[in-house]
């Protein structure tokens, strides 16, 4: 305060300089020194304020922060994590703030297993033509359980679970995760057959890869949770045609089988229908027959008394009636009387009406 007072009083103070300055020049110098001291003091105070103020920092919604005091984390485990909001720490070199993205899901892709192609080439669909063989270190691939070569790649989505381990346990946790993902692809492919990976068990393969990465991450204590794992596989481009042909042949096989099954349905159904028709016909035939026999019996019972009266006459009557009926149905009638000598007239017939053959057969009445 006294300094400040000095500053405002331009007059020489008796206590500081008992001897009155004779020299105006030295007095001016002293004054200049005093005022520059004041500026330096002001700057120092400002610096202290700025220094302490620089300890404020903000944590976003997608991140957490850890304070390192003299290099050591403040607090243990979850207690060490600062959530979103405004926080204060001692400025450097006492405290250091480390921010870690946590809620956001991170993504990493495998580096082995796919042929040499740049993302730009893939987007444009302008792939480099496949060579006759695969060059180690350039073209990636995996070997399946049945020793086929296929391309496969995985994209892993994960979330940081234990930020302290994630950040302070590994120089590059994401590289470690990538290695684990590569290893998982390789190991899983070694247990699957080529057709399972490509066609029949795509989901199973993907699941197995994800399981393996999760296990590795747990085993290596990476401090992450695996959220999702997408796996994409294809046969080597050199063999695309022949793989496509197998697919086509299998589809055709299914079609043939479908046709056979529909034939099966149709045949058995129509046989069933036919069978029930036959049985129904038999039933109605039975009914008809029984009825007609019963009707005959009835008629018989009715006729019997008449017959008993005079069997000969009855027979004659019936016969003549039938003959009469029959003759009305007959188209034309020829009467051949007995010749004088009592022998019947010989008659020759040419039969070629209904029967199919053109044979002629003589018939004698």
């Amino acid at each position: 305060m006294s300094d400040e007072h000095d500053h405002h009083d331009p007059a020489p103070e008796p206590s500081a300089t008992p001897m009155a300055p004779e020299d105006a020049g030295s007095q001016a110098l002293a004054e200049a020194l005093r005022s520059s001291f004041a500026i330096v003091k002001f700057v120092m105070v400002a610096l202290v304020v700025i220094f302490l103020g620089s300890g404020f920092f903000q944590v976003g919604t997608q991140e957490k922060a850890i304070i390192l005091r003299f290099g050591k984390t403040v607090g243990q485990g979850q207690a060490a994590l600062l959530g979103p909001g405004l926080h204060w720490s001692f400025p450097y070199p006492i405290d250091e703030v480390v921010k870690i993205p946590i809620t956001e899901i991170q993504k990493i892709s495998s580096t082995i297993g796919w042929f040499a192609v740049t993302p730009a080439q893939e987007l444009s669909g302008n792939l480099p033509p496949p060579g006759p063989s695969l060059v180690p270190g350039v073209d990636g691939y995996v070997i399946t359980a049945d020793r086929n070569i296929i391309h496969t790649r995985a994209t892993l989505y994960y979330q940081v679970d234990d930020p302290i381990r994630y950040v302070f346990g590994f120089t590059s946790a994401s590289n470690t995760i990538q290695n684990a993902l590569n290893n998982a692809l390789l190991d899983t492919a070694a247990q699957f057959k080529v057709d399972d990976v490509l066609y029949s068990d795509v989901a199973g393969f993907q699941e197995a890869v994800q399981q393996r990465v999760s296990d590795l991450a747990d085993g290596e204590r990476l401090g992450i949770t695996v959220k999702q794992c997408n796996v994409d596989s294809m046969p080597p481009r050199q063999l695309k045609d022949v793989f496509d042909q197998v697919t086509a042949a299998r589809q055709n096989q299914n079609k043939v089988l479908d046709d056979a099954h529909s034939y099966e349905n149709q045949t058995t159904n129509s046989a069933g229908a036919q069978a029930s028709t036959i049985i129904n016909e038999a039933r109605s035939a039975r009914a008809r027959y029984v009825q007609s026999v019963q009707a005959d019996a009835k008629a018989f019972s009715a006729l019997l008394p008449n017959y008993k009266i005079n069997p000969g006459l009855f027979r004659q009557q019936e016969l003549v009636q039938v003959m009469g009926q029959a003759l009305t149905n007959v188209d034309f009638k020829t009467y051949l009387p007995t010749t004088a000598n009592g022998k019947p007239i010989e008659l020759r017939l040419l039969l070629n009406r209904e029967p199919p053959g053109p044979k002629t057969a003589p018939a004698n009445p």
Binding site: G71, T73, P132, F168, K193, Q238, Q294, D296, N329, K333
Partner: protein, 303 residues
């Protein structure tokens, strides 16, 4: 003497700061450190936090990255036990577990030197371990025979053991194979084999489909025939039932078999003459017996 007090405080603060810089050091959470006194390692490795020290040249502090570091091998061609050439690449996670031993083993604690040491260890162990296993241990349809994990564990054990024996102060946290390939020339042979396998699958798909279809159709036909035959048998049985039922009326006809026979004959004649038919009689058959002897001028009489 207020001014002097302020100056004194300022000076003291400056001295304290200077002294702190000289006499203390920080070890970050991710680091491990070791202190040497006149070049000799003194004291145990330092934990993260603030530590005291004598200034240079009495004591010197060596700090190392204590985190797990990645190291991945370049491709290496190795021979399996069954003499198949494999290209493998191994990755490890390693860390400096004992900074004192690490500093003793590598000049100035050079991480580069440590890496190359690790690389040569990995290379030899990779070759040794792969050479002990046939290819079937690396890839196999039967998960029980697959020894992928055992192979990795064997390598890890071997490297770990050598690191410990030599007291490098390095520790392997995990080890894995991250690439398994075949020499370029072999891939072509594999392609040829795969192609012929595919061709077999194609013809199998075709033939199997046809054979199966034929089988299904034949089976369907057989089933249909069986159904029809059963139906026929059933129909015959039903008709038999009918006959049996009709037979119950027989006693009625037995009252006068003669009349019964006569009626049956009449019925038969009725039915036989129902359609267009041609009949030949001579004049002894009634009712034409009426004509007998009545006509004497034979042919040319047409109705």
């Amino acid at each position: 003497m207020k001014r002097n007090l302020i100056t004194l405080i300022t000076g003291a603060v400056l001295i304290v700061i200077f002294a702190l810089l000289l006499f203390t050091f920080q070890v970050r959470q991710s680091e491990v450190a070791v202190v040497t006194t006149f070049g000799r390692i003194t004291g145990p490795p330092c934990e993260p936090g603030l530590h005291l020290r004598w200034p240079w040249p009495v004591q010197q502090v060596y700090k190392f990255d204590g985190r797990i570091q990645n190291f991945q091998e370049k491709f290496r061609e190795t021979l399996t036990a069954d003499q198949i050439s494999l290209i493998t690449s191994i990755y490890v996670g390693w860390k400096i577990s004992d900074p004192s031993a690490f500093l003793n083993s590598f000049k100035d604690g050079s991480v580069t030197a440590a890496r190359s040491q690790l690389e040569s260890l990995l290379a030899s162990d990779n070759i040794t371990v792969v050479g002990k296993h046939p290819l079937a241990d690396f890839v196999n349809i039967d998960p029980k025979q697959l020894q992928f994990d055992q192979i990795q564990a064997e390598m890890e054990q071997m490297v770990q053991g050598e690191l410990q024996t030599n007291n490098y102060g390095i520790q392997i946290e995990f080890l894995g194979i991250q690439q398994l390939g075949l020499p370029e020339s072999v891939t072509q042979a594999v392609f040829d084999r795969m192609k012929s396998e595919r061709n077999i699958l194609i013809s199998r798909a075709q033939n199997e489909g046809l054979a199966e279809a034929i089988k299904i159709k034949a089976n369907a036909d057989r089933q249909a025939n069986e159904t029809l035959a059963n139906a026929q048998a059933e129909a015959t049985r039903i008709e038999g039932e009918g006959v049996a039922e009709a037979a119950k009326t027989l006693p009625v006809f037995q009252e006068n078999p003669e009349l019964a026979n006569f009626l049956l004959s009449i019925d038969a004649i009725k039915q036989a003459l129902n359609q267009r038919s041609t009949l030949f009689f001579d004049d002894r058959v009634p009712p034409f017996d009426l004509f007998h002897g009545t006509l004497t001028n034979p042919p040319s009489d047409r109705p």
